[in-house]
């Protein structure tokens, strides 16, 4: 379908780690475990989950910054899982990333101009003068003054640095931007600015976002659809409207209950999950979530629930609704 910009088929990424310091035995961590997901052209797909559940790994897999262990990735109808290095380099014009930590994502030894200009140089776009104009334009688009062009990253605040990162991602006119927790490292007031910037850029440049976050209130605001991840698997996928009114998975329910509500009179029952997420090296039997679930049934300990569409556009992996 031409409507699907990215299609992930049975995508898996396993990391091998030594079991112990002296041990020769290797164990695998299933960071991304059998994910099927579609990102539609022009939408913002939110991806939420706890730290360490594989969100960022999934983003890096789509960009081929990590090689998948198994499964296939289609971008714009093309299978990019095994495409050549050369082809991938061309494709990078279409796929870009915004990082979480604006302090580590900009090379401290390069000026803003060089940082934003570099993608253009690599892909041989324009001559020196045209590129300079383009950098100026990009800085204007992300709301930075063009006099900042010759400064170094350490001279900027976190929000400004994030804007520089966005300008870099935009420079090649990509179709898809993977925003890997783009606002989690910023102050709340700056978060709002950056989110609004991302929203308006989406309209102006026809962008598709994969918006990775752990903060549901942010994801609700920006996303059309939301995927909830737990221990490398997607447990619920639906439109952001439905998710907030009618979440089916107990994990989503717990996440939602943690979102602060700016209304002191409204009483909210907070569902506190017990314990830490299980170790992904040895995930629990059956449903990965059953160790922390309020509604645990005996089947949950035996079988992993199928990921089923319960109403059009709303899929859940839980025995409660199956």
């Amino acid at each position: 379908m031409r409507d699907d910009l990215v299609v992930l088929e049975n995508l898996k990424k396993y990391f091998a780690v030594k079991a112990g310091f002296f041990s020769l035995k290797e164990v695998t961590i299933k960071a991304v475990d059998d994910i099927n997901l579609t990102i539609r052209r022009g939408e913002t797909l939110g991806l939420v989950g706890e730290s360490g559940c594989g969100k960022s790994t999934m983003g890096k897999l789509i960009l081929k910054l990590e090689e998948p262990t198994e499964g296939r990735i289609f971008f714009d109808g093309e299978d990019i899982t095994a495409c050549s290095k050369e082809r991938m380099r061309e494709l990078r014009r279409e796929l870009q990333i915004i990082f979480q930590d604006p302090y580590s994502s900009l090379n401290p030894r390069k000026t803003v101009r060089k940082i934003v200009e570099e993608p253009l140089i690599i892909h041989g776009i324009g001559d020196r003068k045209e590129r300079k104009e383009r950098v100026k334009e990009l800085l204007r688009v992300v709301g930075l003054r063009q006099e900042y062009m010759n400064r170094y990253p350490h001279e900027f605040s976190g929000g400004q640095r994030q804007r520089i990162g966005i300008a870099r991602a935009l420079s090649l006119n990509p179709k898809l931007i993977i925003a890997d927790e783009p606002v989690s490292a910023l102050d709340v007031s700056v978060q709002a600015q950056i989110i609004n910037l991302l929203n308006s850029l989406q309209e102006d440049f026809n962008l598709t976002y994969l918006f990775i976050a752990h903060d549901l209130s942010v994801v609700e605001y920006v996303s059309d659809r939301v995927a909830v991840m737990y221990l490398g698997r997607i447990v619920e996928l639906t439109s952001s409207q439905t998710l907030y009114n009618d979440a089916k998975h107990p994990y989503t329910e717990a996440l939602l209950s943690a979102v602060p509500v700016p209304d002191p009179r409204r009483e909210k029952k907070r569902i506190v999950l017990k314990g830490d997420p299980p170790n992904p090296i040895t995930p629990p039997s059956g449903c990965y979530f059953h160790t922390r679930c309020r509604y645990r049934m005996s089947i949950c300990e035996r079988e992993y629930p199928p990921f089923k569409e319960i109403t059009p556009g709303h899929s859940v992996a839980c025995h409660l609704v199956a």
Partner: protein
């Protein structure tokens, strides 16, 4: 406006460190001496004057004369060129090899890393000085051979250092970003990671110059380094050894020159290190 840039902080910490400033003054002075050797040396360093042999320091020969009546001060001034050249060429070779191999090992990891680092371990097993002795004994003991051999036997430390820097830098997001915009590996390694790994390389290079000068002096002292009549601090010392009972100045001054030079480079190197990262200070 006073901005607290890393450069500014570096400069302030460096200038506050008295020993480091001493070191840099010594090094800068040596540069001038070597550069202007022809104009500041009072005599021709190769001019033999048997009539004046083994003269003690005097008004005419400030540091005395050697067994062939040559002016020791002039010979030492010209010898500083040799020391400087050996230091820089040898360290240059070692740094280039070390940075290159370290970058490959650290960036690619896996079997490339294993092969390179095991090779480093093997090289470290040889007692370097005897390896140099053996090689120079086979090759001709010219100054160029000495420099190249010192360089080829001293790159292992740099390799380890650069590899360690690369291991941590390659996980940083700006490296991922560089890959994500389609940079080739060469570009990522040399334009993105290496510039950020330069400070430890500078420190080790500065300290390496001191070590190389010392090695050259030792080789020349043993007679297989720089060959007479070319003056070098090491071969002036050799002459001094033969006449130590009657001409102490022949041993004392070149020895002092080596000591002060090595001290200068070491102070400078340690000063740079402390100024880059005060936490490393021991």
């Amino acid at each position: 406006m006073e901005r607290k840039t890393p450069k500014y902080l570096f400069w302030r910490r460096f200038t506050k460190n008295g020993l480091a400033v001493c070191g840099s003054i010594i090094v800068i002075l040596l540069f001038f001496v070597a550069a202007f050797a022809p104009s500041i040396s009072p005599y021709d360093p190769g001019q033999i004057n048997i009539k004046d042999m083994l003269q003690p320091p005097s008004r005419y020969h400030l540091l005395g004369t050697d067994q062939l009546g040559r002016d020791v001060l002039s010979r030492m001034i010209w010898g500083s060129r040799i020391s400087l050249m050996v230091g820089f060429v040898a360290v240059g070779i070692a740094t280039v090899i070390g940075a290159f191999l370290g970058a490959l090992a650290g960036y690619y990891g896996k079997w490339i890393d294993t092969v390179i680092m095991r090779f480093v371990d093997i090289m470290l097993c040889f007692p370097a000085f005897f390896l140099i002795l053996a090689v120079i004994a086979i090759l001709e003991p010219t100054i160029w051979n000495v420099m190249v051999v010192i360089g080829l036997t001293s790159w292992m430390g740099v390799t380890r250092l650069v590899r360690a820097e690369f291991l941590s830098l390659r996980e940083r997001d700006f490296v991922k970003a560089a890959q994500a915009i389609g940079s080739k590996d060469v570009r990522v390694i040399f334009l993105h990671i290496l510039p950020n790994a330069l400070s430890p390389i500078w420190v080790s290079a500065t300290l390496g110059v001191a070590a190389a000068i010392l090695t050259e002096s030792a080789l020349s002292f043993l007679g297989i380094g720089v060959q007479p009549p070319t003056p070098s601090w090491g071969n002036i010392l050799t002459a001094g050894k033969d006449n130590i009972e009657i001409a102490w100045w022949l041993s004392l001054y070149p020895g002092l020159a080596i000591l002060i030079t090595v001290l200068g480079y070491n102070l400078l190197g340690e000063g740079i290190r402390d100024a880059i990262d005060p936490r490393l200070k021991t």
